[in-house]
């Protein structure tokens, strides 16, 4: 190895969003191009009984395929996954074959929420380490800030939506206060930024 310090290429993106999320996700997710190569895993706080509409509606508008994973669904690149309502969504790595897949849990809510952003972010950080990029968008909750800290502590990249332009500023502000956020930017800038740094880190790691 040339250098230990070089950041490896990104392998996954996680996004956490709460109040204002329906609109924000409909804005940001269609901006990811059809050939975007990474899995994008999303926790949107929502009620379990109103679930199918969000996924269907996003799938109609996105270039990437949008799915709601089941327990043990294999994580595939180029797909957007929306956590099912009423379950925590976690990332698992198969010890035997190294395959990545989702696991669900009905453990108690975290930060009053199930799915919880922290649960997804923390489990994804443990599997992807420095190859993970985490994004906190609009919301009126403090969920996700522990997850952001975990991603940062394991060498990943962290982004918060600009609280000044976010529909609800509380959640990105709370994440920023952890001092674990690398970049603060407006919603519309995020997909393009991710595509750019994906390429950049690819080039650097060669």
């Amino acid at each position: 190895m040339a250098s230990q310090i070089k950041r490896p290429a990104l392998k996954a993106v996680v996004i956490g969003v709460s109040a204002g999320g329906f609109k924000a996700l409909h804005r940001i997710l269609p901006m990811f191009r059809r050939d975007f190569e990474l899995p994008v895993m999303v926790v949107q706080h929502r009620r379990a009984d109103l679930e199918s509409y969000l996924v269907e509606s996003l799938n109609d508008r996105c270039q990437m395929s949008v799915k709601e994973p089941l327990d043990k669904t294999k994580i595939e690149s180029g797909t957007i996954y929306i956590a099912p309502g009423g379950y925590h969504l976690l990332v698992e790595k198969d010890i035997a074959d190294g395959c990545l897949y989702f696991a669900l849990s009905v453990d108690p809510p975290v930060c009053y929420c199930r799915p919880s952003i922290d649960v997804l972010f923390e489990s994804a950080a443990e599997v992807f380490g420095p190859s993970l990029l985490g994004v906190i968008l609009t919301g009126a909750n403090f969920d996700g800030s522990n997850g952001i800290k975990k991603i940062k502590s394991l060498g990943g990249i962290t982004i918060a939506e600009n609280p000044e332009t976010a529909e609800v500023d509380y959640m990105p502000s709370y994440a920023i206060r952890t001092n674990a956020v690398d970049h603060i930017m407006n919603l519309d800038e995020i997909p393009c930024f991710i595509e750019t740094i994906m390429k950049r880190v690819d080039g650097e790691s060669e």
């Binding site: 327990d71 043990k72 669900l104």
Partner: protein
Amino acid sequence: MNNVPSYPLHQRVMDIDDIEIKLILDAVQLKHGYDFTNYARASMKRRLNKIMEDSGLARLTDMIPLIIHDNDFFRFFLHSISVNVTEMFRDPPFFLSIRESIIPYLKTYPFIKIWAAGISTGEEIYSLAILFKEEGLDENIIIYATDFNDNVLEIAKRGIYSAADMRLNTANYQKSGGKESFAGYYHADYNSVIFDSSLKKNIVFANHNLVTDGVFGEMNMILCRNVLIYFNKILQDHVLELFSKSLRINGFLCLGTKESLEFSTSASLYETIDKTARIFKKKRDIICSIHKDDN
């Protein structure tokens, strides 16, 4: 404090976590006989971290001496690591589907055996008992309600739950096609309610461990909802095979609404009856020699 680069460090930290988890699970197995090695790793880790925090321990491995020497701690540990709190009539459309599609079919049998596996504190068992009673399946039916944890079986047997949960439970009951007044099934007393003991007359509560115990009867229906999500694929396959051996032909398998057969080796034995409610029907028996012939 020296400047250690963050990524090589994380590799080492993750390894330490895995070592600690393995040592804890080994201690549990050696001292108490429970095998958690094939539980899903991410949820297990969260739960172990929670136990560590709740107990004021500095390290995961600090719980090992307690697991070995302190029975009160182990009760708490076992509860924290394995008990899934649920609600009555969780996923009302599932219970509606049982009511409308499955029960009319079950009624054609002279005697019905049902196995609810991993019942935890029993909310689902009382939901089922109420449903069967309302649909006239009160005689010639036996419901085996099993869990590997005797403490939760005791809670389930008592049938006492928090009064605060009854609002949600009542709403679920109504959405699931309930035909009576839900409050008629329990007696409220201050902060708790006790369910009518007549609901238990067809229920046999028994200790059964899905990891280590085997087939104990031929069932018309098996319910195991939101239990398999806590297992890894190896253990899921093992348990689904146990269910396949325990179900009669045309028997029903009911899983949690986000659990799937499609990733399992047992998938080909079943046809889907209700895709969203996750109700499957066993079409044929396992052919035991199939793996040997492949080699």
